[in-house]
């Protein structure tokens, strides 16, 4: 009853527990999660490709225990591509979501969230983007993040760097700066993003902090530059988040941040799974440039 054998790209496998509610407050079932990722395959796959996947599995739904898995589960099907990676000095085999069947397989493991590094496994020390992770402290919201993102965008534009925002699917925003050139290093992206965060803090002390400590973050937006690290992962664009509501980490147009929908309601900027599908199908991949646009960091 709860098993269903599907065939995809000529490969058959069984999906299980399809009627299990993974987001109980929304009655959003595992079957619907699989359907979401199936419809989003063409958009999300290019962003997952050749990156070591960190699974974050919620076998009993978002209200129950979850676990991280950096290692590819031992008995992965033979058609799941893998790569040997080093994490904190430890060698391990990681899954690469390089084909639609692998995406379906990891979702069958209830890995609602898909986290990937900023570099591909073939060149783990070469980030193909620089990221600013805007994280609101207590009493701040995603709308404050939007204000910070707009300032950041102007700063970057004047440095002749194009940037692309997405929701984190939680409370914050991520601003990506595509690099896509051979010589990029995490050393450079970290230095650069930190300098930007520090200058933003200096000029907008009531709005921005570049400091980790929690007491410094109250009412402000923390620009987390430290994500620019080979050992860190980011939530992949178009991934679901395991919050109470099935929000997606979704790309936005800058105009949406200038005039946020929702009349001051922070949730106005969030994108639910259903809206994500219709928007992606209508607008295409707003994050496409992040994968291809070549940019160099100036003044280093």
């Amino acid at each position: 009853m709860s098993r269903k054998v599907v065939e995809i790209a000529g490969r058959r496998f069984a999906l299980s527990n399809l009627e299990k509610e993974l987001y109980p407050s929304h009655g959003f079932t595992k079957g619907q999660v699989l359907e979401y990722y199936r419809r989003m395959t063409e958009f999300i796959l290019p962003h997952l490709k050749d990156r070591a996947l960190t699974l974050k599995r919620y076998p009993d739904g978002v209200e129950k225990d979850f676990f991280f898995e950096k290692r590819c589960p031992l008995h992965h099907p033979p058609w799941v591509e893998t790569a040997e990676v080093f994490h904190k000095g430890e060698r391990m085999t990681a899954c690469l979501v390089n084909n639609p069947e692998t995406l379906l397989w990891v979702e069958n493991l209830a890995s609602l969230e898909l986290h990937v590094p900023l570099a591909r496994t073939s060149s783990p020390e070469t980030p193909d983007a620089m990221v600013f992770d805007l994280d609101p402290g207590e009493q701040a919201t995603i709308l404050d993040c939007a204000r910070v993102a707009l300032i950041l965008r102007e700063l970057l534009t004047r440095l002749e760097l194009a940037s692309y925002p997405k929701t984190s699917g939680q409370k914050g925003l991520h601003v990506f700066v595509p690099l896509n050139f051979q010589g990029a290093t995490f050393d450079d992206t970290k230095k650069f993003s930190k300098a930007v965060a520090v200058i933003m803090q200096k000029n907008y002390p009531d709005l921005v902090t570049a400091k980790m400590a929690k007491e410094q973050r109250k009412g402000k937006v923390f620009i987390n530059w430290s994500q620019n690290d080979a050992s860190k992962t980011m939530i992949c664009v178009y991934s679901l988040r395991a919050r109470e509501k099935p929000f997606v980490s979704f790309p936005l147009e800058w105009g949406e941040l200038e005039h946020p929908a929702g009349q001051g309601n922070p949730e106005g900027l969030q994108v639910m799974y259903s809206e994500a599908v219709s928007r992606a199908e209508k607008m295409g991949d707003l994050f496409r440039e992040v994968l291809v646009k070549k940019q160099k960091l100036p003044h280093l």
């Binding site: 209200e63 129950k64 225990d65 031992l74 008995h75 994280d135 609101p136 402290g137 207590e138 300032i151 102007e154 700063l155 004047r158 440095l159 409370k171 970290k190 230095k191 650069f192 930190k194 300098a195 930007v196 520090v198 200058i199 000029n203 980790m212 400590a213 929690k214 973050r217 923390f222 987390n224 430290s226 994500q227 620019n228 690290d229 050992s231 860190k232 100036p298 003044h299 280093l300």
Partner: protein, 261 residues
């Protein structure tokens, strides 16, 4: 016991040798916390530390030592340890088979699963099927680091399960536990039996959950809703604000941006 992470080698019975690896069969249900530095939330890691030199000692500079007299140690290398029982350090050799029903459960220590390594799939399957058909378990010994384990390998739903067993010398005598004189009143006993009968059920451990774990999970959920998670700094904090050219450029832009606002 501590077959930590994974062990791989061979399980053998008579002339048959099957390449396998040992994987966990149970995982701790406890919710695990990381220990962090209160100052900046940097994660802490257990490391061996030399008090004399005041520094962390990397694994390749560590050797086991037996304390022969107070503060006097005899070092023993991994190679020497492996030489103690060379026939058992890479092979789980089943020496005999036993009827699983004869094993007093008090002997069970810790369970693991065996899974076949490449090329061992068929022989593994055969051993699992045959042991299940005959309700037998294989008795073997094998050595890991400084310890030797007596193990029972049994078949369960097509898988081989390995139980480390206690040695009989480790099982304490229960002499003196039983009451010296406990008069059994037949009436009382049959009343108990009746109660038991009324409370019979099928074994279903899934009905019971760790109360504490549930509470900890609730606490964490509540805190996650109310708080933004804290974060550790990435690597060493670099001093200063960044490359001078970049900082100068950023400051220029900022000044201009604010003027035009």
């Amino acid at each position: 016991m501590a077959v930590q992470g994974m062990w791989s080698g061979t399980i053998s019975f008579s002339l048959v040798a099957i390449p396998v690896h040992v994987v966990k069969a149970v995982k701790p249900g406890r919710i695990t916390f990381r220990t962090l530095h209160s100052k900046d939330y940097s994660p802490l890691a257990r490391r061996m530390f030399c008090p004399k030199q005041g520094e962390i000692v990397p694994p390749d500079e560590i050797v086991r030592g037996y304390e022969i007299s107070p503060d006097k140690f005899i070092p023993v290398t991994d190679e020497e340890l492996e030489s103690v029982s060379p026939e058992r350090s890479r092979t789980i050799e089943i020496i005999e088979f036993i009827d699983m029903n004869e094993v007093d459960p008090i002997y069970f220590d810790h369970p693991y699963y065996l899974v076949p390594s490449k090329g061992g799939e068929k022989a593994y399957r055969l051993l699992a099927l045959v042991m299940s058909r005959t309700n037998r378990a294989g008795l073997a010994r094998f050595v890991l680091a400084e310890r030797e384990y007596l193990v029972a390998v049994k078949s369960s739903e097509g898988a081989l399960t390995l139980f480390t067993l206690h040695y009989s010398e480790e099982v304490l005598s229960d002499d003196g536990i039983a009451p010296k004189e406990g008069k059994i009143e037949a009436k009382e006993k049959s009343r108990m039996e009746k109660n038991i009968e009324n409370m019979m059920a099928d074994f279903d451990p899934g009905k019971y959950a760790d109360e504490r774990r549930g509470k900890v999970m609730e606490l964490l959920k509540k805190k996650m809703k109310e708080n933004v998670p804290v974060e550790a700094p990435a690597g060493e904090e670099e001093e200063g604000e960044g490359p001078p050219d970049l900082v100068a450029a950023l400051e220029d832009i900022m000044r201009d941006m604010k003027k035009n606002r």
